[in-house]
Amino acid sequence: MVTATELTPTAELIGITKKYPGVVANSDIHLSLRPGEVHSLLGENGAGKSTLIGILSGMIQPDAGEIRISGELVRFESPRDALERGIGTVYQHSLLVPTLTVLDNLLLGVDQGWKLGREVATTRLQELATLLDVEIDPSAVVGDLALGQRQQVEIVRALWRGEGVLILDEPTSMLTPQGAEKLAQVVRRLVSKGLAVVFITHKLNEALDLGDRVTVLRRGKIVGEVSPSDMLSKDRKAITKEVLQMIFGESTKASNTTVAKHVAKSDEQVFRVDQVLVAGSELHLVLDKVSFALNRGEILGIAGIDGNGQKELAEVLSGQRKVDSGEIQLDGKSIQLLSTAARQALGVRYVTDDRLGEGTVGPLSIALNIVLKRVGEAPFWQRSWIKNNAIREFARVLIKQHDVRTPNELVAISNLSGGNIQKVILARELALNPRVVIYNKPTYGLDSRTAYVVLARIAEQAESGVTTIFISTELSEIVAICHRVAVMYRGQLSEPIDVRPGIELQLGALMTGSTTV
């Protein structure tokens, strides 16, 4: 058997450097992508992974360095040039046109003369969907899809266009474990046909399971590699330890998702949702008589495949969406008619999963995004006048506390890496002294250490009496920190059940709509 190493690399990045004001995102990076190999790219948030693959996909122009495709020196002026060389990419943040249908998004940018080949494309889409074992309605408008569904569309598109290299930047962050597993199978099959794959993830197990080779970035530099031979020869535990060391440097704490779970939840009922109904334009209801009640300090997990009404539930609870009927109570008082601001004042917080769309204001500084929900409040504003120093001071503290990677607090938040943006959002919400917090996929895009810290923080807050609704597609996280868990399926919420070891199977069944276990 010929090992991949001996073949000419499909793509080679040589001496790539990219600087942003105050940040060296990539520094003299050398990376070879070989046919038939999955190359896992690891690194903490802001390490420079997305920048690197942005350069390979033609989105970003490097300051120095060169790219070779099958040995030939190329210059990618635009993603088109990369696509023409068979490089398909799933970007970290959805790059689909929200107003177009799934099908038209797939056809976008494909040269095919005057008339679009919609029929052919539909067939191809169905094939790929079957391959991934997902259901994708080609005529659905992308803007109506949940983020997870969008990610599936992106994967389909990358598979379609990436004949030589497939780049996957955190493709599984929005997928269910089953979905991730399916993706892994597909990737395996493609690789066996000679494709080169770059796989970025923060889930170490995924990276090691799927990757033939691992490269780790830290602060823009390559800090370590695990070769295919090492991958095969060494023991998994040893590799894990080694890789963690590379990712985070000296101080490495093992970060399995077992967070010390507290027991002290009181009997005092704080939050109650009763028969909440939101009618959609579709045939089925968006939220179909959702009911649950939470005690003080309790964490309720809400599991489910993305797009089953979790986001709508979160919005209804936070006040961003109106209910058509039903009641929401906080401390026995109805709050469903209150505005978002009024609910915030009562201590209801919502950590959105749409970090770019609504969670942050891109052109504003990190500091201002940190006080986004406190505009006008003391000590940041006094007699309505902004106190820049107070805001900056506060921001610096939170940036430090949450380890946000940025030159300073005045950087526009849109210039941060995805994970660091998420850290800012969490920092903002956790600092507010909340009573009831709704988290929607709070760890999505976070590196494992940060994710661990966040989960620990959530648990800790619950312990201090904060009531928590924890929406996630990661069953392991739910199992790790929740007291009870319920599953959303087509707008309906199952009866919450107590979390106990081995519950995953049962949840998995509920998530796909089967009522029997």
């Binding site: 915030q344 500084s365 526009a412």
Partner: protein, 356 residues
């Protein structure tokens, strides 16, 4: 507003202002060169033309005063736009708001003048002008806040409607029975806004400058200003952060168009003293590009408006002296804007180079 400058240090603000002052000069020179070529092809001497333009727009005492007078309403309209545009509200109806404010002020002024002192008179006229301008945008404001209806359409349409409606008001209700042409009574010269420093420049200029500086700091330093910017940059984030979109939207429209009404009040009480039926100076749309070019920064807005007024006042005079229709002024202003846009591009590019 490029908005990391929310929290900018004083130092970088200084460099920014000086840089924008320099970029303000390059376009002026560019416009003069191309305009000069056009003049030459039309057989006119460009040196004479621009000499006259600068002389009458900037250097001669008479012309300089006219330039300053011309700036007052422009500054006030700009103040309103500096609120609306960063908040993502396309108020393109300032001409209608201006005319409506002007008509009511012109009708009210002469009625009030004999009965009250100057201070009360002007304060009332300013408040009324502001209020009428604001009311004239109430329909677009409500349509936008409650139904999400496109305000570009509604404000433009309300300008067309306002022009007819103001004509109707003058013809049917506010007319001066002493004249045969439909126009309001005249606010006597003695009752106009006080002039400053024994010149002809009335205090409207001060009102304009104060307004623009106040708006500048309101947008950059107050909670309200930040809310408006957030609404403009990412309305979904504003909703997520719990901001009350309806009251904010109404406030944006009210302030923005109120300033257009105030601009008219200042002009009527300071310069015109009267409004005829069919009156429409149509200056609102001219201010729009200047405000964008200045990136909503008060110092730049003032500089651009000054340059613009010099071109207008000086250009009209120079056209006449060169015996060329004063459509030349339109061409010059068009060129100026194009070169300003180019200048902005070059500035952006050089600042990028600096960074890397």
């Amino acid at each position: 507003m490029t908005n990391t400058d929310q929290l900018q240090t004083a130092e970088s603000r200084f460099t920014r202002i000086s840089r924008s002052t320099i970029t303000a000069m390059i376009p002026v020179i560019g416009a003069i060169v191309i305009g000069g070529l056009l003049l030459m092809t039309l057989g006119r001497n460009p040196f004479v033309f621009f000499g006259n333009m600068i002389d009458h727009g900037l250097i001669s005492s008479l012309g300089r005063q006219e330039t300053l007078i011309r700036m007052a309403p422009l500054l006030l309209i700009a103040s309103g736009l500096m609120i609306a545009f960063p908040a993502g509200i396309w108020n393109l109806g300032t001409d209608g708001q201006f005319v409506m404010g002007g008509v009511v002020v012109a009708a009210l002024g002469p009625e009030m003048a004999p009965h009250v002192n100057g201070f009360v008179l002007f304060l009332t006229l300013f408040v009324v002008g502001f209020a009428v301008g604001a009311i004239w945008s109430l329909v677009p404001a409500i349509l936008k806040a409650w139904y999400g209806i496109n305000e570009i359409i509604s404000t433009l349409m309300l300008t067309f409607i306002g022009l007819r409606f103001s004509a109707l008001l003058v013809k049917e209700y506010f007319f001066d029975p002493e004249t045969t042409v439909p126009q309001t009574r005249v606010l006597a010269v003695a009752d106009r806004l006080p002039r400053m420093f024994s010149s002809r420049v009335h205090i409207g200029l001060v009102v304009g400058l104060v307004a623009i500086i106040a708006v500048h700091f309101m947008m950059r330093k107050t909670a309200f200003g930040l809310r408006l910017q957030i609404v403009g940059m990412n309305p979904k984030a504003a909703v997520h952060a719990g901001m009350k979109m309806k009251p904010l939207t109404i406030a944006i429209f009210t302030l923005s168009s109120g300033f257009a009404g105030l601009a008219a009040a200042v002009n009527v009480a300071g310069v015109d003293g009267v409004v005829r039926a069919e009156w429409n100076p149509a200056i609102g749309l001219l201010v729009v590009p200047l405000v964008f070019l200045a990136r909503f920064h008060a110092a730049s807005v003032i500089a651009f408006i000054a340059a613009f007024a010099v071109f207008q006042v000086g250009g009209e005079s120079a056209s006449r002296k060169s015996d060329i229709p004063n459509f030349m002024v339109l061409v010059m202003v068009g060129l100026l804007l194009i070169f300003m846009a180019l200048g902005e591009y070059m500035q952006l590019r050089s600042s990028r180079k600096h960074q890397s």
